[in-house]
Structure formats: structure tokens, C-alpha cells
């Protein structure tokens, strides 16, 4: 019998993984060969997707990027090293070899919908450990690990949990923020599609630690594959008694409806309650008064999915990695105009230059990398001069940037930074929830003013106006949407001033 692994990850499917899987089945049938086809998550080496793996006595051997047309030849070559798409052992591919995979230890390896496979790869050891430590001991362990919110704010997870644990209430909730709307990020999606039980276990541990019996996973509607896989995984866990009344914890999947702002935690809570996804003023903190007014742990998906490994291997193992106050690993998502785009989980501390040039291999176009936006649409654009910045919450903040949810989007030298700054303001206008004035009106005025700059209309005065507007947005907005839009705008103006000096446009005679 031959065992072949083809990803079911949406990005792999988007570049033809389903066709490859179908071709594998057809060819095995034609040859009368006994086949076990496993649809895994992705290893995260996206420039090699669709990446097919075959099990051999020496371990798995990878081939990629494979098209359906390549499949008969792969069988004919008996999946040997002579085939031109042969990549060898995936763990030996430098991109993967350099990583420290904790959160993503199983992704791309296991069958995401097999609890047996999950257990065989260390699943549910974290929950067992939590039960032996007790609720307070579990919170303590998470605190000691130094884990901080991976959604972007970087708030210490253990402290959030402790606040909820210490707040008395008849009902508490665990909410997983899987409204991953930042461009350049996809690690939440990869976990949901490739290792959903890690999230289920992480939420179960959180529920046990703070005394909550109900959890919600709020997934954006742009992720239909992730929604399907999570729903299936929850029912499988229920069937095994790992979720539900007997387990003392239940999980419900909820689907967003296309509003970026619902990734903001309080807007997400309002959305879960069936309202417009508008931001709430804080305090009260969600930990005191969250979903339906009850104490609520609302964590990013990656934070929750990392908890089982932290407990299983001990807080120290995790806290020993990283730099400064950024402990453990960060799944960095390398995207955009880059040669080797993919998921790179590593301890904090790699420099931006290492990430873009060494790991990413430079731009896809082969032209010089000119700007890198880190942390999604609200993150700053960094020029090459800042490539020595280490990937760390504080180091990025010190350079007027943020690491956000870990997305790194590379642009080559054809990028027009005035256009990018305008887009940041336009995006804010499209996605503003409308509750606070700076964001609702400031974004639109910003677009209009940037249009004037781009037309060469009193550029200097208008840029000064934008700077002033950005101050208002930064300090006057209720949440990070308005508050952080100045990051991409001001970084573009500051680091790429030449793109904002434009000759006055002549009115074209039509």
C-alpha cells in the first residue's frame, strides 16, 4: 500500500491541490495500486504548493510544486529522487529546518480531522497536564510562559485569564477571535484547516482554567474552508465526549459577515450578540463585562492554539525562547511579492532583513525589495534602512511600527507609496464601524487630502494637514482601526518622501 499526503489547505487548493489529489486517486486506480490518500493541512511552504508527500521507510518525501499532469510521471518514477520535482524530506528543506515549530508542530503532518492522529502527535497532553495542575495552576503556568496575545495587541494571556478567573459570575465565556482580516496573515486559517483540535483543546483548557463552560469561535466568512473544517472537528470532538455537556465545555462556531472591524475584540463581541459590529468603549474590560455582559476571555486563535503545547512541555520550555518581553515563538507569515512565501514559526528576534532576504529569498519579481508592511493594513511600511529591526513587540514599537498578527508583506521598487498611504485611509473609510468621529470622518477627509497631494495640489500644506489629521486619528479614535491607520500613512510619508513630491497634474482636455 502507498500512503500519499496532499494538502487540503485553502491556499493549496487555490493552486490546484484538489486536482492533484484527484489525479493521484485516478492513477492509483489505473495501476491497481492500493492507495491511502490523506488530505493534510499545509506545511506552509506556499511557493512549493501543491506539495505532495509520500510515505517511505525513511520517512516522508516531498515533491512540489506538483500539477495534476505530473502525477502519472511521479508514479512511473516510483516517487524516486530522480524526478525533477523531488524535494527530499520536507523537514530538511532549509525553510522548514530553520523553524522552531510549537504552535504549528502538527500542521501539514496530521490528518486534521482525525482525533487519533491528533493524540498520536501529542494532542490532549496539555489538557491532562492542566487538570493535574488545577485551574489556578494552569493560569499560573500560562502566565509564566510569557505568552502574549498573538492578535497584535500583545497583552499577556495569563493576566487576562487571571482577571476572568477572579471575577465571580454565573456564566463566563471563552471567545476565540478567528476574524483574521489583516492582509498578509493566514496562520489562523492554517490552524483551523490543518490542526483544528489544537484550538479545541486550547479553548477547553482556557474554559477549565477560568471556569467557563461555553466557547465561541468567531470565524470570518471569507474562510469557507476553515468554517467547514472547524464545524466538522467540533462534531467529531463531541462524538468522542471531548466537548459537550459531559466534557463540561461546549464550543459553537459562529460566522462573521465581512466586517473587518469585527476583528477588534469588543466589536466582535457585539457581533456575536447579534448586533452591528461596533466598538465598545473600555472600560469595562471584556474580562469583567464581555459577551452578554459576562466575564469573557477573548483571545486570538494562535494564542489559544499554543496553550496546549505550553502546558504539555512546560512554561519554561516556551519562555526560554525569544527576546526581551517577547517570549516564545511567533508564526511569521511571509507574503506578497516574495520568492519563498510561507509560514515561518520562529523564536522572536529575527531581523526583518533576515525574514525578507534570507528566508523569503527576496522578491518574486527579482527587483529590489523597497518597502515591507508588517502587521497588516494598520502596520507601518518599513524601508530597507530599517531591515535591522528585530521581530519583537517592543523593537517594532520603538521604530513606530507594530508586528501585529505577524504578517509581512513585501513590495518591490515598482510600488507607489503615495498610493499605499491613500489605500490605508480608504480602507479605514470602508471598514470604519462609524462609532467614533475621527475614524468615521477623518478617514474620508484623509483620502480627499491625499488625492490632492497626489495631484500635486499644495502638496506640502496638504501633507501637513494629513499629519495633523493622523494625530487626531491616533489619539482620538476608540479602537485600533482609526488609531493605527496613521502607522501605514505616516511611515510611507516619512520613509518614502520622494513618492509624495508630485508635479501638478495638468487637467486633461477631453
Amino acid at each position: 500500500m502507498i500512503r500519499i499526503f496532499v494538502p487540503r489547505d485553502a491556499a493549496a487548493r487555490a493552486v490546484g491541490a484538489d486536482k492533484v489529489a484527484a489525479a493521484v486517486e485516478a492513477e492509483a486506480k489505473r495501476l491497481g495500486q492500493d492507495l491511502q490518500l490523506v488530505r493534510t493541512g499545509s506545511r506552509g511552504l506556499f511557493w512549493l504548493e501543491p506539495m505532495l508527500e509520500v510515505e517511505t521507510p525513511q520517512g516522508r518525501i516531498a515533491f512540489g510544486p506538483v500539477t495534476a499532469k505530473d502525477v502519472p510521471a511521479l508514479f512511473a518514477a516510483q516517487f524516486g529522487a530522480t524526478h525533477p520535482l523531488h524535494l527530499g524530506k520536507p523537514e530538511e528543506i532549509p525553510f522548514l529546518k530553520r523553524q522552531t515549530r510549537i504552535t504549528f508542530a502538527r500542521c501539514g503532518i496530521v490528518d486534521p480531522l482525525s482525533i487519533a492522529d491528533y493524540r498520536a502527535h501529542g494532542g490532549y497532553l496539555g489538557l491532562a497536564k492542566a487538570r493535574s495542575l488545577g485551574a489556578a495552576g494552569t493560569v499560573e503556568e500560562v502566565t509564566k510562559s510569557g505568552l502574549r496575545g498573538r492578535g497584535g495587541a500583545g497583552f499577556p494571556t495569563g493576566i487576562k485569564w487571571k482577571t476572568v478567573a477572579d471575577t465571580a459570575a454565573d456564566r463566563k465565556y471563552i471567545v476565540c477571535n478567528a476574524d483574521e482580516g489583516d492582509s498578509g496573515t493566514y496562520d489562523d486559517r492554517m490552524i483551523m484547516e490543518g490542526d483544528p483540535f489544537a484550538l479545541i483543546e486550547g479553548m477547553t483548557i482556557a474554559g477549565f482554567a477560568v471556569g467557563a463552560t461555553k466557547g465561541y469561535v468567531y470565524i470570518r466568512s471569507e474562510y469557507p474552508d476553515a468554517i467547514r473544517t472547524m464545524e466538522r472537528a467540533v462534531s467529531l470532538a463531541e462524538a468522542e465526549g471531548l466537548l459537550g455537556e459531559a466534557a463540561g465545555f461546549e464550543i459553537e462556531i459562529r460566522v462573521g459577515a465581512g466586517a473587518y472591524v469585527c476583528g477588534e475584540e469588543t466589536a466582535l463581541l457585539d457581533s456575536l450578540e447579534g448586533k452591528r459590529g461596533q466598538v465598545r468603549a473600555k472600560p469595562p474590560l471584556p474580562a469583567h463585562k464581555g459577551l452578554f455582559g459576562k466575564p469573557t476571555v477573548i483571545n486570538n486563535l494562535v494564542s489559544l492554539a499554543t496553550v496546549p503545547a505550553i502546558l504539555a512541555d512546560g512554561a519554561k520550555h516556551y519562555a526560554d525562547l525569544g527576546m526581551g518581553r517577547s517570549r516564545g515563538t511567533m508564526p511569521i507569515q511571509i507574503a506578497g511579492n516574495v520568492k519563498q512565501g510561507g509560514l515561518f514559526e520562529a523564536a522572536f528576534g529575527l531581523t526583518l532583513g533576515q525574514i525578507v532576504d534570507e528566508i523569503g529569498g527576496g522578491t518574486h519579481s527579482g527587483r529590489p525589495a523597497r518597502a515591507v508592511q508588517v502587521g497588516g493594513p494598520l502596520g507601518a511600511y518599513f524601508p530597507r534602512a530599517l531591515f535591522d529591526t528585530p521581530f519583537d513587540y517592543e523593537a517594532f514599537a520603538a521604530k513606530d511600527g507594530l508586528i501585529g498578527h505577524g504578517g509581512v508583506v513585501v513590495f518591490d521598487d515598482t510600488v507607489d507609496m503615495a498610493h499605499q498611504a491613500r489605500f490605508a485611509l480608504e480602507f479605514c473609510a470602508i471598514e470604519s464601524c462609524g462609532k467614533c468621529t475621527p475614524c468615521r470622518i477623518g478617514s474620508t477627509r484623509g483620502v480627499e487630502t491625499m488625492d490632492k497631494v497626489m495631484r500635486g495640489e499644495r502638496a506640502e500644506a496638504n501633507l501637513a494637514l494629513i499629519e495633523d489629521l493622523c494625530q487626531t486619528l491616533k489619539f482620538g479614535s476608540l479602537c485600533a482601526l482609526g488609531g493605527f491607520t496613521p502607522y501605514p500613512v505616516m511611515s510611507a510619508i516619512k520613509h518614502f518622501p520622494e513618492d509624495f513630491k508630485r508635479p501638478p497634474l495638468r487637467v486633461a482636455a477631453e
Binding site: 485553502a10 491556499a11 487548493r13 487555490a14 493552486v15 506556499f46 511557493w47 504548493e49 483574521e180 482580516g181 489583516d182 492582509s183 498578509g184 496573515t185 493566514y186 489562523d188 486559517r189 466568512s221 471569507e222 474562510y223 469557507p224 474552508d225 459553537e252 459562529r254 460566522v255 462573521g256 459577515a257 465581512g258 466586517a259 457581533s271 456575536l272 450578540e273 447579534g274 448586533k275 452591528r276 459590529g277 461596533q278 452578554f292 507569515q333 511571509i334 507574503a335 506578497g336 511579492n337 516574495v338 512565501g341 510561507g342 509560514l343 518574486h364 508592511q373 493594513p377 504578517g407 508583506v409 513585501v410 518591490d412 510600488v415 499605499q420 489605500f423 480602507f427 470602508i430 464601524c433
Partner: protein, 155 residues
């Protein structure tokens, strides 16, 4: 394919979710899946069943980009316009698509075959530029991909 409005079926959908906490979004999603949009009739029914005002329900429907007050075309193409796709010439590919199908963002072709919508990130950012056709992800798009899409939607 979405069905014509049916009061009994719609009531069934609402009642299936009614006991949930914060049931409004699941209800609206299912109504739209069944009938293609959230019509004024749907708003009236949901408001009545959940004991909300029509204004409250309308406020929610109009807040979220996903909910439509008119049905979409037979096929829906969501094209990513966010930064990672921009960095890979996504805007040019997107413009060529709009031109090829003769529509603007959010429009449906006159024959009702295709609706083209902008979206901001599909999470396929390492294989940019990307789009989604009827829920199926597509990535590493080139101007040639447009012909493929055109074939799929029969245009």
C-alpha cells in the same frame, strides 16, 4: 440556486436558531443562503420573531458587507484588493477582470450570470493575487486566469 421567498420556510429557519444566544447573524446567513438576499419581507419576519424593531434588523443587515438586499448573480466572484495582492499586480488583474466582464465593483452582469465583488483578504497572501469563485479559492492569478474564470461562468 436560491429559492423564491417562502414565509413558512423562512419561519422554520428563524425558529431553528431562535433559542441561540445572539441568534441574529446565524439567522441572516441562513436566510440569505436560502433566498439569495435579505429582503424587506425577511427583515419584517425576523423583527417579528426576535421581538426587535425593523430598524434594528435593518441596521444589522446594512452594517455587514456580506448581507445583500438584492440577490447576486448566478456566480459570485470575490476579488481580493488588499495589500498582499496589490504587491503582486493584483490591481491590474482586477481591472482587466472588470473590463472583461463589463462591470464595476459590486455589479452584476446584465444577463445575471456574474457578480464581481471586492474583498479585503482571503488569507491566500503567499499565493497572491487571489480571488474566490462561488466559495472556491483561486490564487497566483494572471491575466490568463480571467479566461478560465469566464469559461467557468459560461461567458
Amino acid at each position: 440556486m436560491s429559492a423564491a421567498w417562502n414565509d413558512a420556510e423562512a419561519t422554520d429557519i428563524v425558529r431553528r436558531h431562535k433559542s441561540k444566544e445572539g441568534a441574529l447573524l446565524p439567522i441572516l446567513h441562513d436566510l440569505q443562503a436560502a433566498f439569495g438576499c435579505v429582503s424587506p419581507a425577511a427583515i419584517r419576519l425576523v423583527a417579528h420573531e426576535l421581538n426587535l424593531t425593523r430598524a434594528e434588523v435593518h441596521g444589522v443587515v446594512s452594517f455587514y458587507h456580506d448581507f445583500r438586499e438584492q440577490p447576486a448573480g448566478t456566480h459570485v466572484l470575490k476579488v481580493c484588493r488588499a495589500e498582499a495582492c496589490q504587491s503582486m499586480n493584483g490591481e491590474k488583474v482586477a481591472e482587466a477582470m472588470l473590463k472583461r466582464f463589463g462591470v464595476n465593483w459590486g455589479d452584476t452582469t446584465p444577463d445575471g450570470h456574474l457578480t464581481v465583488e471586492a474583498t479585503y483578504c482571503l488569507g491566500l497572501c503567499s499565493c497572491a493575487p487571489s480571488a474566490m469563485l462561488d466559495g472556491q479559492p483561486m490564487a497566483r492569478l494572471t491575466p490568463e486566469s480571467i479566461d478560465e474564470i469566464a469559461r467557468e461562468v459560461g461567458r
